[in-house]
């Protein structure tokens, strides 16, 4: 299944948010979206996931999602979005119940995804008892439970401290190696983008346009050993972003 975003433009009232965004996410490909704050990254992701409709342009799905996928387009949120009144397993079971998966089948899926995210011992814990990194792993387990074709991640690691971020980034890469999911991954963090992205899309400041679309041909598992090359890409991305970020920063402080 491939995602195609075609000429998406959007305004919120007077605020011009996105202009003429076109790109695609191929099967098994991770596209990282970076751009200055307020340029419309989250908005774009909401369009891709069908939570909002753009003023112009469209988001298309090419090909059938895998037959066993319960929720082909699945989000992972920055703030985890776990239900505080459900335990870890309850939070995972939430997304299965509506598909009529209950009882033994549900328990098997829950046990499997919790094992894959190293959460087996915490199945009965309440979200308030978990650290930030564990909460995000629960959110990842929940996403895995519906076997997504495309993961939509909006700064999934931004609320975490840097060590936890490193660990979870490794987890994500391991996961990708096993599952080969495709993803649209929004981040502020260039280092994250070059570690995880097959392609990296740099947006300009608001209204967000595509400033650059960079492919990185190094396989994900070789990247930790080829830091020098990655560093070059990262520097190039930063060059592209810096002026935009600075201008966006001035814009925001003017507005206040």
């Amino acid at each position: 299944m491939e995602l195609r975003i075609e000429a998406v433009s959007h305004d919120y009232g007077e605020t011009q948010v996105l202009r003429d965004i076109s790109f695609s996410v191929a099967p098994g490909e991770i596209v990282c979206i970076i751009g200055p704050s307020g340029c419309g990254k989250s908005t774009l992701l909401r369009f891709i996931g069908g939570l909002e409709r753009p003023d112009h342009g469209q988001v298309l799905i090419a090909g059938e999602p895998p037959a066993d996928s319960l929720n082909p387009l699945t989000y992972i949120f920055q703030d985890f979005a776990l239900l505080p009144w459900r335990t870890v397993e309850g939070n995972v079971s939430l997304v299965l119940e509506d598909h009529g998966i209950r009882g033994a089948q549900s328990r098997a899926i829950i046990a499997d995804v919790l094992a894959r995210t190293k959460l087996t011992d915490f199945a009965r814990a309440w979200p308030r008892q978990l650290s930030g990194g564990m909460k995000q792993r629960v959110a990842i387990a929940r996403a895995l439970a519906v076997r997504p074709a495309v993961m939509l991640m909006d700064e999934p690691l931004s609320a975490l401290d840097s060590q936890t971020r490193e660990l979870l980034l490794d987890d994500l890469i391991d996961l990708w190696k096993r599952e080969r999911f495709s993803a649209a991954y929004v981040t502020h963090n260039l280092a994250e983008a070059v570690r995880l992205g097959h392609r990296i899309m740099v947006l300009s400041r608001r209204p967000g346009r595509i400033r650059e679309l960079v492919s990185i041909d190094i396989p994900l598992d070789e990247r930790p050993d080829r830091i020098v090359e990655l560093d070059k890409v990262q520097r190039r991305l930063w060059e592209a972003m810096r002026d935009e970020a600075r201008a966006a920063d001035m814009e925001l402080s003017d507005a206040d």
Binding site: G49, L51, L70, N71, L73, T74, Y75, F77, D79, A81, L83, P84, W85, R86, L94, V95, E97, D98, W126, P127, R128, R142, V146, L152
Partner: protein, 299 residues
């Protein structure tokens, strides 16, 4: 340019060395505590207060002390029995009630009105509150009506309720029902409005049905607000119960208090009021249990 960089390097070296020297020189001094600099004090603690620590014994002790003082004042004649009968006298009146069996008739009548009125009022209140919160048409249509009717003292409408629902149980139950209804509506839709929008978004993004989102995300999220609404509506219900029973009832705690008052049987009056107090405490305890059951996830 090169000299500059060498300068900064030098500075850095100095800067690094100074604290090192200081610490090595001062360390033995501070042990002796001489020269006035060595008086060590703990940092003053300023973080106390403003937190809730359970003190299980205090509340019963306060009750016992108050009643004990009151009994003492009555026994010594400091409190005149005409002004305020002794707690033991009130307890005697209560024992009389139990012995003659009238207690059960009063209690039965009151509890029936309270339970039926409050249960219906809160059930309809939660339903209407949810409807207002979930449907824009309902919100636009009903929330001004609720705001207009909420402040009316329901007891003022009792004559009207008597015309509508009859002089018997109907009018009394209706008074309590309406009294419990409005605060519940407001607590419920306020609670729903405060449910984290991101959680609802999450539910939508996983393709949950509308009903699932309401049942599994919105109602549990609004539960704390709904339960604290229950506390308020239960107190209002007790006040209205007594008021309605005072206006026209043969049995009920309110009727008993009214009768005692008109006969100047003040110890009976006190016994009746104490029963109301105990009723209030019991309800508050029950709601506390409900909170603990429904809100285990909140710590």
């Amino acid at each position: 340019m090169p000299t500059e960089s060498r300068d900064t390097a030098l500075h850095k070296e100095n800067w690094r060395e100074v604290p090192l020297q200081k610490t090595t020189r001062r360390a033995p001094d501070s042990g002796k505590g001489g020269s006035g600099k060595g008086d060590l004090r703990p940092v003053p603690f300023r973080g106390g207060g403003f937190t809730y620590t359970p003190r299980g014994l205090i509340s019963p002790l306060v009750f016992i002390a108050l009643i004990g003082l009151w009994e003492l004042g009555s026994q010594t004649g400091f409190i005149s029995p005409i002004a305020l009968p002794a707690p033991s006298a009130a307890f005697g009146a209560f024992v009389d009630l139990v012995r003659t069996g009238t207690l059960w008739r009063h209690l039965e009548a009151s509890l029936f009105r309270l339970i039926v009125g409050w249960t219906l009022g809160t059930a309809i209140g939660v339903a209407v509150g949810l409807a207002i919160a979930l449907f824009s048409v309902m919100r636009a249509g009903l929330s001004p009506v609720v705001s207009a009717l909420f402040p009316i003292p329901k007891i003022a409408l009792l004559p009207l309720f008597i015309v509508w629902f009859g002089i018997g149980e109907g009018s009394k139950v209706a008074t309590i029902l309406f009294g419990a209804f409005f605060p519940t509506v407001i607590a419920t839709y306020g609670g729903v409005d405060n449910v984290d929008r991101n959680l609802i978004r999450m539910g939508q993004s996983f393709g949950l049905s509308w009903l699932s989102i309401v049942r599994k995300i919105i109602i549990p999220g609004a539960m704390p607000a709904i339960l604290s609404g229950f506390r308020i509506s239960a107190s209002i219900a007790i006040v209205l119960l007594v008021a309605a029973e005072m206006i026209g009832a043969q049995f009920g705690i309110g009727a008993y208090i009214l009768m005692a008052g008109s006969l100047f049987a003040i110890e009976q009056l006190i016994a009746g009021v104490a029963m109301l107090s105990i009723l209030g405490l019991t309800i508050s305890w029950l709601i506390g249990r409900a909170e603990r059951y429904f809100l285990t996830w909140r710590t």
